[in-house]
Symmetry: C2
Subunit: 295 residues, 2 copies
């Protein structure tokens, strides 16, 4: 079977099956970051991601914007776990005839993105290729043991929230987004967040992953979805690359959150979009009137 | 200027110039691993590397061997610093029409290599590409503060040693090598190693880097170079991908080392190949009779 027939989730599932694990690995493949134990009151977080020419950016895109995106995609997974990224490694795999100035600009974007969150680019690697340019960014960070949030802690009855607006990222937003690290840190400082992730593949692909990891179902009020300008509900669900936070917390806490959020983040909307249900594995997707049916 | 005109060392030098650094970064770009401070008696090591189809392996190579190489290239840089790798992240960037079974075999090689050194593959990423396959492996590990060895501690008069034999790795050895982690750990447990690195680009490219980082020159007795079967001196110097250790220690210690080594590692030769000289920056390369002139 070819890769494009098998699908990414299933492929990764097969590849990581039975991976020999060390006793100090708290969370391996399958969540936003890998989590490993460390001495003291913090956990270590690790994440790698990549952007590929023609797949994640067009050849005529500004190189500084491509660098920004390459760094921020990786850092967004730290937001998903309420972690603080600290160090990054950058691998550039490039055709030999690429202009060195293009690389300089790319690196400018990588640095600017890293600086935004006090991340040090501590090393990397370069290689030639005959094919499209690839930028791979790995990062190391940490999170307090008491504040780590994964995908699997969601409970039936939890309210689901998303930050910002969804859809239409292909019009340029996918190159300019700022990971919700500040927001995520504030959330776990002030509330008990049960489950959280960043929306990279779109709500329609990502929410089922959160629900499945938590062993619950979900229901979404489609009219409530916060949409970017000129975006349909379907685009808000399926476009992807929003890099907004999706998280679940108890209904008891949600009123306080809805009150405090706009004072702390007046320019970033926070929207309750639905709730987790007690339909467990296989994930049940409500599709009655007013609730969206996920493909 | 194009990348192939500027060269990797110079390009990296330009890209990392003036990188904003955190106070806890002990060694950033330019050494085998990045080194960052940690609480307690250990330093954290980070490294990323990649293998690219047509560049680091041929399309008809066995996928398990390609996976082995991809993992071991990264782990070899831990040997260079006498570190212990602990966790790895794997990014696969693959054409969509690649057989899933090829990937399964690739992953088998990655795992086997990781298991060899008790490294846990804790996560990764996959992406499509229109071009050649890329496997990027990042790893995190640590080393005791008292045993960390970089490239910059070499002193004039130090004896230079290499493990194993050099040259001819393209005949298959580049897919099967075992990083010298056990040897490197033993060395720093029993001796004061001043400077060390792993030979990935070949002695002819790598030794000048060690000398330059240490601010010294070097002299090599070319006839003394340990060579693989049917390899010329030039091949031993220039082929690359040996993944053997090159290290420097004081002449006082070298006699004891030469005596103890064969008892501990009877099947792996250790050879004194020359010494560091007091000719500092720019690196002076001796080229008198019996000593090789590096290109």
């Amino acid at each position: 079977m070819k890769l494009d027939e098998i699908g990414e989730d299933r492929l990764i599932g097969q590849l990581v099956q039975g991976l020999a694990s060390r006793a100090d690995v708290v969370a391996g493949p399958g969540d936003d970051c890998a989590v490993v134990a460390a001495p003291g009151d913090r956990l270590i977080l690790l994440k790698t991601d990549c952007v590929v020419e023609h797949v994640h950016f067009r050849p005529n895109e500004k190189p500084a914007a491509v660098g920004w995106k390459a760094m921020m995609r990786t850092l967004s997974d730290f937001a998903a776990m309420s972690g603080l990224p600290q160090y990054a490694l950058v691998t550039l795999i490039s055709p030999a005839d690429r202009e060195a100035n293009w690389m300089t600009q790319l690196y400018r974007g990588l640095r600017r993105a890293a600086d935004r969150f006090d991340v040090a680019i501590v090393g990397g690697e370069t290689s030639a290729t005959k094919g499209p340019l690839v930028i791979s960014v790995s990062a190391l960070g940490s999170v307090e043991k008491t504040r780590w949030v994964g995908r699997s802690g969601g409970k039936a009855g939890d309210v689901l929230f998303v930050t910002g607006k969804l859809g239409g990222s292909g019009k340029g937003r996918h190159l300019k987004f700022v990971p919700r690290i500040d927001e995520s840190r504030w959330l776990t400082k002030n509330f008990r967040i049960h489950a959280m992730m960043d929306l990279s593949d779109g709500l329609g692909a990502d929410l089922p992953r959160l629900a499945e990891a938590s062993g619950v179902g979900f229901a979404i009020e489609e009219e409530a979805l916060p949409r970017n300008k000129d975006c349909s509900i379907s685009e808000a669900i399926n476009d992807g690359e929003d890099y907004e936070l999706l998280f679940a917390l108890s209904p008891n806490d949600s009123a306080a959150l809805a009150k405090k959020w706009p004072k702390k983040f007046p320019r970033l909307p926070l929207t309750a979009i639905g709730f987790l249900t007690n339909h467990s594995s296989p994930v049940t997707r409500h599709s009655f009137h007013g609730f969206v049916h996920f493909q």
